[in-house]
Structures are given as structure tokens and as C-alpha cells.
């Protein structure tokens, strides 16, 4: 690790935490979810509301000079919501999905700090608990996923009836725009003040019978997050290396409309640099979780998820819950009138 002065170290540590925190609102310790890339009939749409209570803790302490300690002992509570609209369509004659996410909520961070005053940002007293919060909208994002292999265009009921996928591969590109709440003199912000992108390749293996009540799948989403620099991070320039991510789900129907998933998330990378100087260790975190989904009706689904990390750098501990309501709609299914009325 490149040696840096203590002030910079403190800033970067806090900054990393905040970045993790802010990033985590939409990504860290938070996956896309089970069956997020399942295909649906072209033209069908989905509206979703998610509420995520999240807790991130970092219990590590750092001594970087005799008697000089940083006690991050960070405890960060996040309460955010996601509002998502998605539409399935055909793009280049391939089944595709466009999704727009609006994110908002609040973040509260408590960090114990013991350090010489000259090394601390304005307003933070050494040896006391540093507390900061932010609320408002976070950075919205837009994502496009296009099937590369394994899924035909699903334009009609006939296509749906004949759809029995086995192995599918998609390409997904997401862009997160720096439109969220951001104050340059705060460490804690909802927005990240930089453009973030992700490229991923959702892979699914459907095994068993592709029929409601009997479906099973193994899903992997390898992806890489790419970060533009934040040139106004408490007066400094914040840069991060790409974050490599692998998300996995093993899902199974227990009844029509009732499925559970065993979830896994591994992320590595995200080496932080402040003003061009590499600080801290790269991030490495692994999460396990479970998801339960119940279809209340043909159009309404309720989904709950809980995940927690099983390992994490800097003794990072995450605990994420999710409660999601999904309403989806499409053109009407076959009804009696159509049945008797011909094409």
C-alpha cells in the first residue's frame, strides 16, 4: 500500500466508507435479485416498489502512528426505496428489457474517530462520535438487457406456450447518472457525483420443467462496475478501480407462484485513490441470502429478501433486507371470446 499521510488516510477511509455506503444503496451488498432477467412477452411492463433497510458496519480500527487511532466503528443505517419501471421488447430482433430506476431515501452514519484535529475535516471533533446523515434522491439509473442466446422473441401467446428455455445468455448495460442529492462538503451523500456504469452478462440455466410450480433455475450475473472520477470529494479527487461482481441464484418453485431462491454475491476490486494516491485495500465481500416470492394474483407479486455478508474486507458487515411489490401487466391472455372468435 502506498504510504500516505494520516489526514489523507482518514479522509480516504471515511471516503471509502461513504463511497461504499453510497454505492451500496444501489449495488453493494445489494444484488439485482433472483429471476431479474427472466424473459417476458414483448410489450409487457412492470412497475415495482422496493423498500430496503440496510445496515453496514465496519468494526476495524487503524493505528497509523503511536497514540493515533482511527476507530471507524462505523455503523451506517440506510433506508432507501427503489421505484422501477421496466418494459420487455424486441431490439435487433432479440428479446430485450429496458428498466429505469429511481432511488431515494435516507442515510445515517455514525463513526467514532480519535485523531489529531488538524487531520480532521471541519466540524469533526476528535474522540467523539462523528455523525452525519443525508436524505433525498440518489442517482437514478437506466439499464438495457438484450438476450444474446437461448430466448426467442416472445410476441404472442403461442410464443409463450412454446417457450421452454434451457440455457440463456444476455448482455446488460447500466448507466447511473449523477443526479442525486450531493453536497461537496459532506461525506455522506445520497448521490455520488460521478457517472457509474455496469456491463454484465446474465446467464441462466433453466432445469426441470418450465412450467409454473415446477420451474428451477441457476443464474449467474458476472459484471463489472466502472466509475468515473468524483472531482469534488471534500475538495479532492476520488477515483475507484472497477468492481468485479458475480451474483448467483439458485431458484425453485414450490408451488405455482411461490418460489424461493438461495442468493450469493461476490464483489472484488474498487481500489480507492484520492488525488491519485491509492489508499486502503481493495474491497472484497461475499454475501449469502435467501429470497421468497409469492404471486398474490396474476399481476401482483410480493418478494422478500434477506442477505448478509459472510466475509468482507475491513471487517465490513452488511445486512440487507428487501420488501418488494411488483405489478406487471401485458396484453390480455386468451379469453373465451378470443377462443371462440378465431384469430
Amino acid at each position: 500500500m502506498t504510504k500516505v499521510n494520516r489526514y489523507t488516510y482518514l479522509l480516504t477511509l471515511l471516503g471509502s466508507l461513504v463511497s461504499i455506503l453510497s454505492f451500496g444503496v444501489t449495488a453493494l451488498a445489494q444484488d439485482d435479485g433472483a429471476r431479474a432477467y427472466w424473459s417476458a412477452r414483448s410489450g409487457s411492463q412492470m412497475f415495482s416498489f422496493q423498500y430496503l433497510p440496510m445496515n453496514i458496519g465496519a468494526s476495524d480500527s487503524k493505528e497509523f502512528a503511536p497514540g493515533q487511532y482511527i476507530y471507524p466503528n462505523a455503523n451506517i443505517d440506510v433506508n432507501v426505496f427503489f421505484v422501477t419501471w421496466a418494459r420487455h421488447m424486441n431490439l435487433f430482433r432479440r428479446p430485450s428489457m429496458l428498466a429505469v430506476n429511481i432511488v431515494g431515501g435516507s442515510v445515517n452514519a455514525n463513526v467514532n474517530i480519535k485523531a489529531a484535529p488538524e487531520f480532521l475535516p471541519p466540524g469533526i471533533t476528535p474522540g467523539t462520535a462523528f455523525s452525519q446523515s443525508s436524505s433525498g434522491f440518489a442517482d437514478p439509473n437506466i439499464q438495457l438487457a438484450v438476450n444474446l442466446f437461448g430466448t426467442p422473441m416472445l410476441n404472442s401467446n403461442v410464443d409463450l406456450l412454446n417457450y421452454e428455455p434451457t440455457i440463456t445468455l444476455d448482455a446488460a448495460v447500466m448507466l447511473m447518472f449523477p443526479l442525486g442529492e450531493y453536497k461537496k462538503d459532506k461525506l455522506i451523500n445520497m448521490g455520488l457525483n460521478r457517472l457509474i456504469g455496469r456491463v454484465g452478462f446474465p446467464f441462466k440455466w433453466h432445469f426441470g420443467v418450465f412450467s409454473p410450480g415446477y420451474m428451477s433455475s441457476f443464474e449467474l450475473m458476472p459484471s463489472v462496475w466502472l466509475f468515473a472520477e468524483n472531482s469534488d470529494f471534500v475538495g479532492k479527487k476520488l477515483e475507484n478501480d472497477p468492481l468485479w461482481s458475480l451474483e448467483g441464484h439458485l431458484t425453485h418453485d414450490f408451488a405455482p407462484g411461490l418460489f424461493a431462491s438461495f442468493d450469493m454475491l461476490y464483489q472484488s476490486g474498487f481500489q480507492t485513490s484520492v488525488d491519485g494516491v491509492e489508499v486502503g485495500d481493495k474491497l472484497e465481500i461475499g454475501n449469502l441470502g435467501i429470497t421468497l416470492n409469492y404471486n398474490v394474483s396474476d399481476n401482483v407479486m410480493i418478494r422478500t429478501e434477506y442477505s448478509s455478508n459472510v466475509f468482507g474486507s475491513d471487517n465490513l458487515e452488511t445486512s440487507v433486507g428487501r420488501l418488494q411489490f411488483i405489478y406487471h401487466w401485458s396484453t390480455p391472455d386468451v379469453n373465451f371470446k378470443k377462443l371462440m372468435g378465431g384469430n
Binding site: 404472442s156 401467446n157 403461442v158 406456450l161 412454446n162 418450465f210 409454473p212 377462443l339
Partner: protein, 605 residues
């Protein structure tokens, strides 16, 4: 030295003479060698399903068998399976052999009456018993359905080796659930002993074939010929096929039953199965035209037919395994192969009959065993798919109706015979009127066995069937003359055929609760009742019916699964003299109603 050429010449003559002598003995021995008999029965398979009968289902093995042998167009069976099997194995009428009615549906007035035992009774000797006693190995695999007590099972009725299910149908896989809740698991026997557990990879057609090959191999050592009875349970419902065969016909039937039936009919005409100007049956009166459905509905309705077709092809494939094995061991050329189906294609709602109403044992049995549903699940081992009357009518192209009924669609079956002594390879015989009762006497004649008057100390009924041997060797075109006739009765529906003429009596709305007269030469589809035009012919055939009843001890059941068909099916015609069908019946005394149902009175008023 001078004698040397003479010695050589003498020696040469001697060698030649010995060779000729031995060769002659060998030929004589081969000529005297009795043929193996391989009797293959499909379960509920339709008349027009095989490629060689006009079907689009891939059946290369049976098509090739038809090229080597002869196909017959007018081969008759009974409307249901166990009834046919009783005649197949006994050579006599089902009302004599113990299956006057299916055991599951015996009427109160038939219980305990001779011929209604519900099992292959002691009034007959099975062809297997006679063959076994006369030097044949006798093997059976598949569906028995002719009795479950120890003295009624295949091993007790002449089959030295067997791997059989004793009941009428159930899962084709190792989970082995029976259709009926009363015996939740299908009882299987192997060599007369109960099979406790089916192998994990069990699938009916595959394992029956494995066993057939095993039995043939294990019995080869002594040089005795064999009689192997392969009673496949395919394609009887539930329609199931191994997973890797499930999508073999994906989307093949999306065009709907009308289009497929039309194409089959065209192919049947090309093949000569049906005359080009034949009057064929209309789409059944209670079935919608398939073109009226949305494409998605046609896809859904076609799925069960896809599975059915895969089952038929799978069975064909397995039959091919047996043929290949016989060729490998050098027995194919000495094996007479007979292939039939046991009745018309299944158009009834078997699952509905089985599952009963919500809350019944049948319903619970269904929920426990075959409640898996969903378009993509159909055909797997937890499902009970059926294809219904519309596809059944496709299976029975060009005929009317299907299994359970005595219209041609219930009682015609494909028949292919091939092997030593069968002349006319590749020919189609449209002259002979044949019956499943004929098979036992044919087999016995091929084996050189006389049917005895007594068996094991008891008198047995004579065989009513007629041997085909003369027909097979080309000396006659048919075992029957124009005066010969055939009769049927099951569930109260009844029919007589003599020459081109046929009378039939069906419960409404399949019939008119009265005799109807058809001329099959002009009206293969039984569309025009000629009773009014030919009353004398009708009366003649009715008198044959009376003779049939008398000869065979027929008792018309006081109950019939078809007696209330007119309550859940629309009328076959919009207007007739008894309309509405129940008018006046509600007020009738019960005894009168019974008489009506027994055909002793003309009903409706």
C-alpha cells in the same frame, strides 16, 4: 492303377449322395420347424396413426413390417381393452370368455352371470395354455387386465414367463400409480410373483421390450419355438413419454385436428386404405372446428397429441429393438409377427371418470399422484394427459366415434401380419372381414395344434374365430364368406356386420336408442341411416343380433356408462321425434326405464 479313376468317381458319388441326403434332412427339419409367434398389441392406438395406415406419426419399424407382410383394412376388435384381450387369447366371444362386460363396469343385473366373471374364465383355454402344453415357450409382457387372483394371472393361464401389469392402466413410469384409487398402485407380476418395486428408470414400453428380449434369450437353449405376447400399455392414457421424447413432435399439431384429419384422409386415399370416393365421417357433432380457435389454444390442444404421437413412435422404436434382436439370433425369418391395436382411440374423459368429484377418494388419489399440471408439464410422470374426442377421431380417421362405442371408430384396428407363410409382401387386403377372435385359431393352426373340446378335465367353449392360415398363404382372400357375420355388445351398445351391411344401436346422442342401418361400402363414416330405405335388411340383421344374444348369453346391462351421455353432450341432430330427449322419461316407472335402456322398448316418449 486302372481302378483309381473309378474309385475316385465312386467316392465322389458317395460324398455327393451323403451331402444331398444331409441337406434334404436339414430342409425337411426346417420345413417342420414350427414358427415363433410374436403377437404385438398396442393399447388404445388409433386406426390411422401408423405411417403405413396414413398417419403422420413416424413408425418406420411397423411401416417396414407392413412392406414385408400384409395390411388389412377390415379388422375388428371390441370397443374396449380387456374385452378384446379375452377374445384375443380365447378365440371366442367375450360374453363366453368372461368379459361380457369390463369388470370395472359390470351392471347389477350381470353380476354372477356366466360370461360376466370379469376375468378370463374357465370356460375357455387360453392360447398360451394350449401352446405351452404343446411344446412352445410362452412369454408375456405388458397389460393383462383379465384377472388378478393367483389362478387368473398370466402365469396361471399359460405364460411360463411374464412381466405384466394386471390392471387396465396407470403411470408408465416407476411411480406406478394405478388409474383407480381402489388399487392405488398398479400390481405387476414377474413369472407369477408380485413385483415389489419397479426399477428407477422404468418406462413401460422400454422395460416390456427388455423383458421380451430377456425371455427369448433365456429360453433359446432347447430349440423350442416361442409365443411372445407383447401387450404394450402405450399409448393408453395417461399420455406419458420419457422426458427426452416429450418434444419430439413439438408444434406438429398446432394446425388443429381438422387439418391433420384432412391430411390423414388424403394419405389414406393415396395408400388405398380408403377408397377415393369413400363417404367418411363428419367431425363429431359436439366438437368445434379447430380453425375457430386462436393459435394459442390450438397449441395447447395440440400438446397432448404431441405426447401421444411420441408414445406411438417410442413403441415403434422398441418393437424395432425386438426385431433387431430376432435378426441377430437368427429367429426373425422364422417368426410370424401380428400387430394390432386393442380398440379404437380413446376419446372418453378417463381422468375425469377416475378422479371423480372433489372430495371423493378418486379425487384425492388424483391429487396425490397425477395432479401436476401446466402446458409444459404434460406427459411427465406426475401428469395425466389425455387428448380427448377430437384427436381420437383423428386417430380413427375416416370413421365415426371412438373407444367404448361400436361404431367403426370404436372397433376397427390396424392389422399387420408378416412372417413365414405370409404371402403377398406389401399388399393391402381390403376383402377380408377379420376379427380378433380369429387370432387364436390362426396361431394354433400355425403351430399345428388342434383346439381341444376339453382342457384339464373341463369342457371348454369352441373357438368362434376363423383361422387366417388359408388367407395368409394366399389360397383365399378371406376366412369368411358373404353369409358370415360378426356381432358386438358392450355397455348396451351393440352391432352386427354382415358383408357390407351393419346395424348398430347406441345410446343417445351417439345413436338413436334404436337400430340404425348402414352400408359400409358406400358409407364408411356411418353417416346415413338406411333403416327406412332397407327395412328388410335391417330386420335380417336384427334377427342375427337375436342369434348373437342367444349364442353367447348376452345380458344387456341395467347400467351403462353411456346411458346419460345425452345429458352432457348436445344432440347429434337439432330435431327429431323424441326431442327433447328426456321428455316423458322422468315420469316413467323404473322398470320401464330399464326396459327402455335394455332396448326392449323404443325410448323417448
Amino acid at each position: 492303377m486302372r481302378n483309381k479313376p473309378l474309385s475316385i468317381l465312386l467316392a465322389a458319388y458317395l460324398v455327393a449322395g451323403i451331402t444331398i441326403c444331409f441337406t434334404g434332412t436339414e430342409v425337411a427339419a426346417q420345413e417342420n420347424k414350427r414358427p415363433n409367434i410374436l403377437l404385438i398389441v398396442a393399447d388404445d392406438m388409433g386406426y390411422s396413426d401408423l405411417g403405413c395406415y396414413g398417419g403422420e406419426i413416424r413408425t418406420p419399424v411397423l411401416d417396414k413390417l407392413a412392406q414385408q407382410g400384409v395390411r388389412y383394412t377390415d379388422f375388428y376388435v371390441s370397443p374396449t381393452c380387456s374385452v378384446t384381450r379375452s377374445m384375443l387369447l380365447s378365440g371366442t366371444d367375450n360374453h363366453v370368455a368372461g368379459l361380457g362386460n369390463m369388470v370395472e363396469l359390470t351392471s347389477p343385473n350381470q353380476v354372477g352371470k356366466p360370461g360376466y366373471e370379469g376375468v378370463l374364465n374357465e370356460r375357455v383355454a387360453s392360447v398360451a395354455e394350449l401352446l405351452s402344453d404343446n411344446g412352445y415357450h410362452t412369454y408375456m409382457v405388458g397389460k393383462w387386465h383379465l384377472g388378478m387372483k393367483p389362478d387368473q394371472i398370466p402365469h396361471a393361464r399359460g405364460f411360463e414367463r411374464d412381466f405384466s401389469t394386471l390392471v387396465g392402466g396407470g403411470s408408465h413410469f416407476d411411480n406406478g400409480w394405478n388409474i383407480s384409487w381402489q388399487i392405488p398402485k398398479m400390481p405387476y407380476t414377474e413369472d407369477g410373483r408380485p413385483v415389489k418395486k419397479l426399477p428407477k428408470d422404468f418406462y413401460s414400453s422400454k422395460n416390456y421390450t427388455d423383458k421380451t428380449i430377456q425371455f427369448i434369450d433365456e429360453g433359446r437353449g432347447d430349440g423350442k419355438p416361442f409365443f411372445a405376447y407383447m401387450a404394450f400399455t402405450a399409448p393408453h392414457g395417461p399420455l406419458q413419454v420419457p422426458n427426452d421424447w416429450l418434444r419430439r413432435y413439438k408444434n406438429r399439431y398446432d394446425e388443429g385436428w381438422d387439418g391433420i384429419r384432412h391430411k390423414r384422409l388424403a394419405r389414406m386415399k393415396e395408400l388405398g386404405i380408403v377408397d377415393k370416393d369413400a363417404n367418411t365421417a363428419d367431425r363429431l357433432f359436439f366438437l368445434p372446428r379447430s380453425s375457430g380457435f386462436t393459435p394459442a389454444v390450438r397449441v395447447m390442444l395440440g400438446r397432448s397429441m404431441e405426447i401421444y404421437a411420441a408414445m406411438v413412435e417410442y413403441m415403434d422404436d422398441q418393437i424395432g429393438r425386438v426385431f433387431d434382436h430376432l435378426k441377430e439370433i437368427g429367429e426373425y425369418d422364422n417368426t410370424v409377427v401380428i400387430f394390432i391395436s386393442d380398440n379404437g382411440a380413446e376419446g372418453n374423459n378417463l381422468r375425469g371418470m377416475v378422479a371423480g368429484q372433489v372430495g371423493t377418494f378418486g379425487f384425492l388419489h388424483a391429487m396425490n399422484n397425477f395432479a401436476e399440471d401446466g402446458h409444459n408439464s404434460l406427459g411427465r410422470k406426475g401428469t395425466f394427459a389425455e387428448y380427448g374426442p377430437a384427436w381420437a377421431q383423428v386417430g380413427m380417421t375416416p370413421f365415426r366415434l371412438y373407444k367404448g362405442l361400436v361404431a367403426e371408430g370404436g372397433i376397427r384396428s390396424p392389422l399387420i401380419v408378416s412372417g413365414p407363410g405370409v404371402k403377398g409382401a406389401g399388399e393391402l387386403n381390403k376383402k377380408a372381414i377379420l376379427h380378433v377372435m380369429d387370432i387364436a385359431p390362426t396361431i394354433l393352426e400355425l403351430a399345428g395344434i388342434e383346439h381341444p373340446a376339453t382342457y384339464k378335465g373341463r369342457e371348454i367353449a369352441p373357438m368362434q374365430g376363423k383361422s387366417w392360415v388359408g388367407m395368409l398363404n394366399g389360397s383365399t382372400q378371406s376366412p369368411r364368406s358373404s353369409d358370415d357375420w360378426l356381432g358386438w355388445e358392450l355397455f348396451g351398445n351393440r352391432a352386427i356386420r354382415q358383408g357390407d351391411w351393419k346395424i348398430s344401436w347406441h345410446y343417445e346422442p351417439f345413436g338413436s336408442w334404436d337400430w340404425q342401418l348402414f352400408n359400409l361400402a358406400e358409407d364408411l363414416g356411418e353417416q346415413y341411416d338406411l333403416s327406412n330405405e332397407f327395412p328388410k335388411k335391417r330386420a335380417e340383421l336384427i334377427s342375427l343380433w337375436d342369434e348373437y344374444v342367444k349364442t353367447n348369453g348376452v345380458i344387456i346391462g341395467s347400467r351403462s356408462p353411456f346411458e346419460q351421455a345425452n345429458r352432457h353432450l348436445p344432440n347429434s341432430v337439432t330435431e327429431y321425434d323424441n326431442y327433447p330427449p328426456l321428455r316423458g322419461l322422468e315420469a316413467l316407472p323404473y322398470e320401464t326405464l330399464l326396459e327402455l335402456m335394455a332396448g326392449k322398448k323404443k325410448g323417448g316418449q
